[in-house]
Amino acid sequence: MKTFRIGGIHPKEYKFSAGKRSQEAVIPKRVMIPLSHYIGAPSVPVVAKGDSVKVGQLIGKANGFISANVHSSVSGKVLKIDDVLDASGYRRPAVFIDVDDDNWIENIIQSKDIIRECNLSSEEIIKKIADAGIVGLGGATFPAHVKLSLPPGKKADVLIINAVECEPYLTCDHQLMMERAEEILVGITVSMKAINVNKAIIGVENNKKDAIEHLQYLIQTRSFEGIAVEPLKMQYPQGGEKQLIDSLIRKQVPSGALPIEVGAVVQNVATVFAIYEAVQKNKPLIERMITITGKSMLNPSNFMVRLGIPLSSIVQQSGGVPDDTEKIIGGGPMMGRALASLDVPMAKGSAGVLFVPATESQRGKMKNCIRCAKCVMACPMGLEPYLLMNQSERSMWDEMEHNCVMDCIECGCCSYTCPSVRPLLDHIRYGKTTVGGIIRSRNVKN
């Protein structure tokens, strides 16, 4: 079985919510739909205080190339446009809507019948995806239409679907594949058409055998051509774009380049589902699957959630916050962000909420580096975390750049594996931010 070739670790899985049928999250009286994305410029609001909106109506327009539209996930009245504390720990603009009823705009097809026919051209598909405000739902939230619009002169050979879900605890992609497999396959066909390839590989880690079998069964019986499912040996961070490409087609994306350099386009499995809904059903990105889980959670479960719903309301529905919780993570334990409060709105990139009990929420005491080289062995990008941390502490930015700090994918393997519990990634991430700033300002000058 395939996997990527450099580094990697094997964290324990703890997929408590695997196989739990997804529930619809109850819509509270007020939602706050974030206008900002993790990547790119915040959208510009196109509604004003007092406007009434319907489900699926455009409320924020993309601002620039790397930005995405935002649509209302509920129907009701716009209360205000104000800053709200989001998962990043900073206040960012959002549209507050007081909910009444559930009126959808007319052209969205709400039935669950599967529509396979798609007679649109590549440009029309990409236009529809851009209009629907779809971003990468794996966590990086990079606008999907940008990924699908190939740079001039480049040609894609293969579409890679990221269904790895290598983060411990999270099961939302797994559940989506179990419940909406056929929609996903149609979404893949549509995406293949958008980038003009006739081959797609779905990369799934081998801990999701039921999903692999289900997809394979559907591909054979419903004759989806050119799509293959590839079981992968479990190893973190296989869900990293570059690692997944290495695993599946044995090509390494050069440093600083995009996957198209090796002829691949990668989309997350949840993203292709959103693409299906946008292209075939005219439904913009207004909801996504999320996992609510944790070791002391009574009922870890998966939810289909409208964007903008406060996380606290979803958590209430799944049995409330466990008593011994001392840390709440938005996302998975390896790359997720610790939340300072549960009153943050559900955003496009939220894949999970993880409750960490008090016994596991604090970091261990840092000791001297014993130069065991475990971080070097674990780094999937072939970097030297111990060295980068030392250089970051001493502000040696030029040396860090020389040692490829910009290749770091912030997967956390180094910190995970360190026997001295050194905060390697903290320092490296800071160094990466600083070096990135230096490089940008240098490029501006030239």
């Binding site: 440093s255 610790a338 993880l354 000791k367 014993i370 070097v376 990634l425």
Partner: protein, 320 residues
Amino acid sequence: MNKLIVSPSPHVHGGDTILKNMRDVLIALVPAYLLGLYFFGLGALIVSVTAITSCVLFEYLIQRFLLKTAPTINDFSAVLTGLLLAFNLPSNLPVWIVILGSLVAIGVGKMSFGGLGNNPFNPALVGRVFLLISFPVQMTSWPRPIPFSMTYLDAETGATPLALIKNHFGQLPDTLDLFVGNMGGSFGEVSAVALLLGCVYLLLRKVVSWHIPVSVLTTVFVFTGILFLVNPEQYAPPIVHLLTGGLLLGAIFMATDYVTSPMTKPGMLIYGVGIGIITVIIRVFGAYPEGVSFAILIMNAFTPLINAYVKPKRFGKVKK
């Protein structure tokens, strides 16, 4: 619910600790220790207990009263240094020399650089080489292996196989004896089979990677093999070189010391080859019959240079 904790990712840790690594190395050393006790008896016990206690004690005293930092003796690294030092000493060494060696190993070899993780040279070897140069007579009169011997300072001594090779006289023990460890030498280094057992354990527990031991042993085998083929009269067969002296102990336990070995796989291979070549040169052409300690210390000095120039295979930098 308490105030929530916010920290940067990752939020989980693999659970590996310094203590676990040191403990695994100690466990890997147990078979060699037991065989050492079997062959050298009471002397081995006295030397090893003295070395371990004095190493731990010196580490504690230096941290407590000189450096005024929190003692780190509970991470077992001083125990390991003590045991490795004892493994490299003849079992009839007077107690005071052992204590002096421990002081140099911990005080000069480790603490003067800032404690665990900062020492450029393997502390146990620093202590051993200090003793070898300061007390050449005591350090090179090896007791003969007598099962369960109850003698200590007055143990009967004899030449080691390497000394026999060096001086071209006497009958070498047969290969089986070499393999089990029925020969003269420092008390922990004699038994090849026990050391290899420890090596397998370390590799299985992923405490060390195969790169250093394999490259050292291969280099020695190939180098002495070439010499043997050129002139079997003058040079000993490679298998004898592999099984005698401190080579296995050095390659498996001393050269792989985390702190003083390179950080990348290609770097480890270079380091191992260097140790192998220097060892053979000292053994065959040098003044001393044995050169593993010197070879490791010399390559320790090269480690920062190797780290600076030998980088791991970066993702995306390979040609198709």
